[in-house]
Symmetry: T
Subunit: 152 residues, 12 copies
Amino acid sequence: MEITHGEITLINGPNLNRLGVREPGIYGTATLEDIEGNTIKSGQDLGFAVDCHQSNFEGELIDFLHNSDGNAGVIINPGALTHYSYALRDAIASISTPCVEVHISNIYAREEFRRHSVISPVVLGVISGFGIMGYDLALQVIARHVCKKSSL
Amino acid sequence: MEITHGEITLINGPNLNRLGVREPGIYGTATLEDIEGNTIKSGQDLGFAVDCHQSNFEGELIDFLHNSDGNAGVIINPGALTHYSYALRDAIASISTPCVEVHISNIYAREEFRRHSVISPVVLGVISGFGIMGYDLALQVIARHVCKKSSL
Amino acid sequence: MEITHGEITLINGPNLNRLGVREPGIYGTATLEDIEGNTIKSGQDLGFAVDCHQSNFEGELIDFLHNSDGNAGVIINPGALTHYSYALRDAIASISTPCVEVHISNIYAREEFRRHSVISPVVLGVISGFGIMGYDLALQVIARHVCKKSSL
Amino acid sequence: MEITHGEITLINGPNLNRLGVREPGIYGTATLEDIEGNTIKSGQDLGFAVDCHQSNFEGELIDFLHNSDGNAGVIINPGALTHYSYALRDAIASISTPCVEVHISNIYAREEFRRHSVISPVVLGVISGFGIMGYDLALQVIARHVCKKSSL
Amino acid sequence: MEITHGEITLINGPNLNRLGVREPGIYGTATLEDIEGNTIKSGQDLGFAVDCHQSNFEGELIDFLHNSDGNAGVIINPGALTHYSYALRDAIASISTPCVEVHISNIYAREEFRRHSVISPVVLGVISGFGIMGYDLALQVIARHVCKKSSL
Amino acid sequence: MEITHGEITLINGPNLNRLGVREPGIYGTATLEDIEGNTIKSGQDLGFAVDCHQSNFEGELIDFLHNSDGNAGVIINPGALTHYSYALRDAIASISTPCVEVHISNIYAREEFRRHSVISPVVLGVISGFGIMGYDLALQVIARHVCKKSSL
Amino acid sequence: MEITHGEITLINGPNLNRLGVREPGIYGTATLEDIEGNTIKSGQDLGFAVDCHQSNFEGELIDFLHNSDGNAGVIINPGALTHYSYALRDAIASISTPCVEVHISNIYAREEFRRHSVISPVVLGVISGFGIMGYDLALQVIARHVCKKSSL
Amino acid sequence: MEITHGEITLINGPNLNRLGVREPGIYGTATLEDIEGNTIKSGQDLGFAVDCHQSNFEGELIDFLHNSDGNAGVIINPGALTHYSYALRDAIASISTPCVEVHISNIYAREEFRRHSVISPVVLGVISGFGIMGYDLALQVIARHVCKKSSL
Amino acid sequence: MEITHGEITLINGPNLNRLGVREPGIYGTATLEDIEGNTIKSGQDLGFAVDCHQSNFEGELIDFLHNSDGNAGVIINPGALTHYSYALRDAIASISTPCVEVHISNIYAREEFRRHSVISPVVLGVISGFGIMGYDLALQVIARHVCKKSSL
Amino acid sequence: MEITHGEITLINGPNLNRLGVREPGIYGTATLEDIEGNTIKSGQDLGFAVDCHQSNFEGELIDFLHNSDGNAGVIINPGALTHYSYALRDAIASISTPCVEVHISNIYAREEFRRHSVISPVVLGVISGFGIMGYDLALQVIARHVCKKSSL
Amino acid sequence: MEITHGEITLINGPNLNRLGVREPGIYGTATLEDIEGNTIKSGQDLGFAVDCHQSNFEGELIDFLHNSDGNAGVIINPGALTHYSYALRDAIASISTPCVEVHISNIYAREEFRRHSVISPVVLGVISGFGIMGYDLALQVIARHVCKKSSL
Amino acid sequence: MEITHGEITLINGPNLNRLGVREPGIYGTATLEDIEGNTIKSGQDLGFAVDCHQSNFEGELIDFLHNSDGNAGVIINPGALTHYSYALRDAIASISTPCVEVHISNIYAREEFRRHSVISPVVLGVISGFGIMGYDLALQVIARHVCKKSSL
């Protein structure tokens, strides 16, 4: 499928570069490369180019977000920054691109501190607990979002 | 598509029978009938029969859950019971059917009391904030879940 | 007086069917029948038909509220559901009928848990502590409310 | 009607002298003078003289309360002192006159700090959210209260 | 033994109809039928008829409690309603029948939310953690309670 | 009955030596001697020797617990230590003997601080509110516990 | 005895002018006049002139405190201002005169809000629960305090 | 400079009349007279008449605020009332004059209770920690504010 | 003076045997022996024998309290047990002897945890912050208490 | 004016590079370049060179702070790091340069989490709510601060 | 090595006499005797005599601490008293001997209540989670501490 | 000694590059270079190569941790990130290398926010309060840890 609907930014936060290597009981055996590869492919199927980024630096994640302003959408898994990075939250609030928050594990079923996201109040919505499939679902959400706007 | 993968139970909780009629600013203009119709159709496409239920009674919702034991999956939007019904939570914990929790609005972006779900710790995962599309995403999750198990 | 101003729904929640029988020290000796009889009569004097309901089921109270949509007003004493039923709150928020919350005892002068109402933020106002007279005052509030709107 | 049932004290607290001038969206367009005039007139209809006071000084409000000891009743809108003046609370507790707490707006539907009244545990009851009509309802409560006692 | 000491009401709350089927690690393998059968038999041995009820509806449990007014005693396992149903609490407070609260598992050794019962302050006492034997112990408590009163 | 099932340790904590003398309104008129006498006798009927201890010293109670390791069971009323003695809790956790926690009054119906037991998470279960009869019930629990194990 | 040790300021806060008239069960039957008379007399016996003040106005109490700067001591019963008047606290901190905080009732044995004094951290010490005798004890404290300083 | 930009009200709250006399370590050696003199002079330089008030009475401060309605601005240091006077907050909210909140010391670096201002949510902004220079900065803010409005 | 008014028990808790040796900045230079000697002498002057005890063992302090039942009064400084020993509190509640709680330092002006006493709700009253003079004041309180009772 | 008073470091934190572009309703239309240009110019007027930095990286902000040690002053707007970056706080505490904390919006009038600054306890003072003018005021504070020191 | 550096007191609190016997999964298989033997030997190597104590009595532990005043150091594992014994804390604060707090398990990785030590604020430092090796490390700390002082 | 036991990673977090320069009262006069030099030397004595890193960037610290996977051990002093960096915590949890958390000062004896470490639940143990000696102790812990494993 042709890339006609624009670009989607995929942002993975701290420690997600370790996926597949460690704690597969919680996070599964898929690697970050698997996620990025799948999302690029699924994006293509829906007519989007997917731009993939990962960083362990809050500042770099903020830069990625600023740079995605004007894109079709952002899919973000902020890792543990989910629970305290008000700077990341403000970065999302500072762009007009619709964001979808994804978590591989069900964060509401884990330690107390993981049950609260400071990011959620500024995103379109949250998908949590469905493994790497969550990224695919997020892609669909953005695709639908773009369609709605273009049909107005 | 033939119904080969079994039955999925769709359960909507208190006040969701009012969808489309009131507060469209928050919940959109789709009605409960729209949701149920769409889900049945999408279910068929994936090879599932979808059994739809709505009730304003916690007790009846618990009965629906008990009855869904052995089904392929449960999609549940518990409405405001999300925030206090430990009885609903225990009903989900008492069945082996995988459950997906869906919210039409982004509950984490609303009043303080809506940000905490007593249901989330016992479901597979949560989809919140994507309007009625959330039900479709939940269907996909269960379909994938069934495939994984059957491929073992 | 003729019934010209429409219908008012009177809704009493859990355990209010026990009024007069038990704990008269807190709730007085009047029975639910007394309250309903008085309110019907006072309603007639103000030109309203009063439709009376009581239930110990949260789900049934929600149904009563949905059914009252379009009426002149709702007078509701949610009993102990006052303190935790967000589903009842959402039912009130889902209808356009003005609601008045009534409590026979002064809930702010009793146990800690009774001092907080999850219902109050979505009603027109609250009357608490004046025995069964509170229902009469609520009727007057709705009557005045109707007059204001009709005089616009 | 003749003044035969005694005297009622109407006490309005801090900033209520500004009524009608500012924030009519919350408090309406009636002025303090309107409230006092109406209450005096309604009082006369019920056979009570109404003694009206307003002050921005907690100490003066306490004096008003002490002076009302022995009267038929007190109607008090403590303004923002509602939320912290334990001294006002003790003044009410120190007199035998029945007090009714009135709020023009629905304090339970506003900022968090307004949802808690330190006064409520020592009054007969609370009327909140019905605009200046609340003062009239309070008058009726006291009238009924006086009747009950005199009929013993 | 003859039924001379009157009737005892056994009330089991939400999800207890699932006993024995699921989570036997926590709740054991006995079914609700086992509990009811045993309690009826033990009741007979002590001279009591035992009237057994289970419901997943808070409202129905409240009705059972109201109907048990005047009986010799109530044995109640409120299930998860233990932790939030102030309506159930008020139902117990509204009857003069002595109530014993029973929990199959030791609720104080489980999740944080299970450690607090809103029911306990209005019952005679609590038995928690001894499996279905707890119902037998509760029966003995009521039998002893009846003896004491009849010996006065 | 012969002592064939082994020894049970009965441990009463601080101030329980004052039973019967003071605050009979809360704790009844039975003395510690009555409790110990009854429990020894009931123990004999069930085939257990009951070893009785009381101390106002947390350290001594810990010693009693350590010494009961290997016994058939421990019945413990920790008095006010219930609410803060993590050392007592650790002592119970350090032995393999099953413990039953007993309270004469219904601790959940008293002052706020009495509603939380730091002991409960490490015992078999809790019996609270049935006066000195609670000790008898605890004996039965241990007897049943012993039977189950010996029948394996 | 001659007045040689200087002046002591006695300050009573809101509602203490009502002493003896109301709630004698809590505050006793002595009036403010009794307290002031006794304290003046006891002061004379110890060689101090006692300057007595009472006000229901926080502002006036602050003025009294400012005026007492340089005196031998201040005895203050801040009434309900004890629990929230940080302004009073700052007034005490702004003077070098040693202050003794007195409460007629045992504030630590009453409602939760009375158990915390915002004043106590800036006074010499607190005397609470001994009725009007507390004022006498406070006098002795200041007398001793003056002696110590003059003996240096 | 001519007074052409109107009048500014300077309001100092409880205990600020003690400035310079006590606790110079925290508040510096400048007196209230210094502050008022400086502010008048600085105001003149900017073209404003400055009307200076200080009171230890919450009620009087409220009156000052009401009287400043229509002025160019209010500079307020509420003293310890900062931390609890919701009445003062409502007085500020009831006027249209822009207010600047000033604190001589850095309140966020002192006792816990000083770190929260109930006033801040209704003022233009806050200046804290720069000694009496803060008043000068506040003047500049109001001057700039007036310029902006007049330049529209 | 003759011992005619009976016996008073002086109880000092943990670490008070270290008085005078360490931390004189907080507790002064007087030793426990000084306190006991002074209290015995002052007791004699008032006609009381004073029985002095100190222990670092909670259990022993409880025993002292039980043994003082029937005495004229108890003066107790519970040391750090003040802040958590509910067992000590229950011991005081279990005797009819009036108790006075004494603290050498002003506990309300120290670390957060020292500001709350679990003992205070069950004593006659509290004296805190006046050094060893507090014991003398407590003696006077008990003497006065005894006089009142004997004069009835 | 000549640069004679040394260098001032201006540090802006995460997302402040987005100023003017987004959310002008909250933050105004001025850009970061405007702020830096103005501050450099105002600095020159006061005799200071202003060294401007912005970063979205906490670590880089810490480096800027370390590098400013020995300068005349630091003006810092930490963005959302204000609310959780104890590392930034420690960096400020680790240098001897006086810091002024500036916020463009009135952070005390926004979301709950923005009302608390972990930075404020270690800075000279705080300026919040006056738009980009706050940076100018901060400059003046540092200028005055330098003057005071140099005049010693 | 000769004992030239003085005496070190080793104090183990409640339940540590049970080490090795129970819960080896948490506490390892070493017994108290092993710990004491090792510490004595390691002490000798460093030139210290080690005096070993264990008690389940808070009072006895306080006595041990008092007796260690003047020694070279104290190594203390307070067991569960760590979490509530303010009396133990005061005992440590009352002596000038440097104390090191040791925990065998990592208390910060266990139940919530174990994560807070009331002892830690008054000790030199804390070693937690390294099994019985922690005692050896503590010995080294004290040895180094002694050296530093003697080298001054 | 030969390097036979592998490599240990030493990681110091934000502001630790400032050691020795500032706040020597809290952190001592040793510099980061001293710590790194000593640790390398002590490591050599124990047969380990020590790889030293410091960064003010959370992201870089996470990278250091990922890179240390497979090493013999990690010694980490996370600086102020200790109190909020869940991302650092997850990085530690994502590697199999045993980590020891070291703090130079006794963090439990400082400001409230420093008493809680989000890192501690995922490390082997914690050493806090012994100055730079803590790093040496940590080295010994890892050395012992390696020995144990290699002896299996």
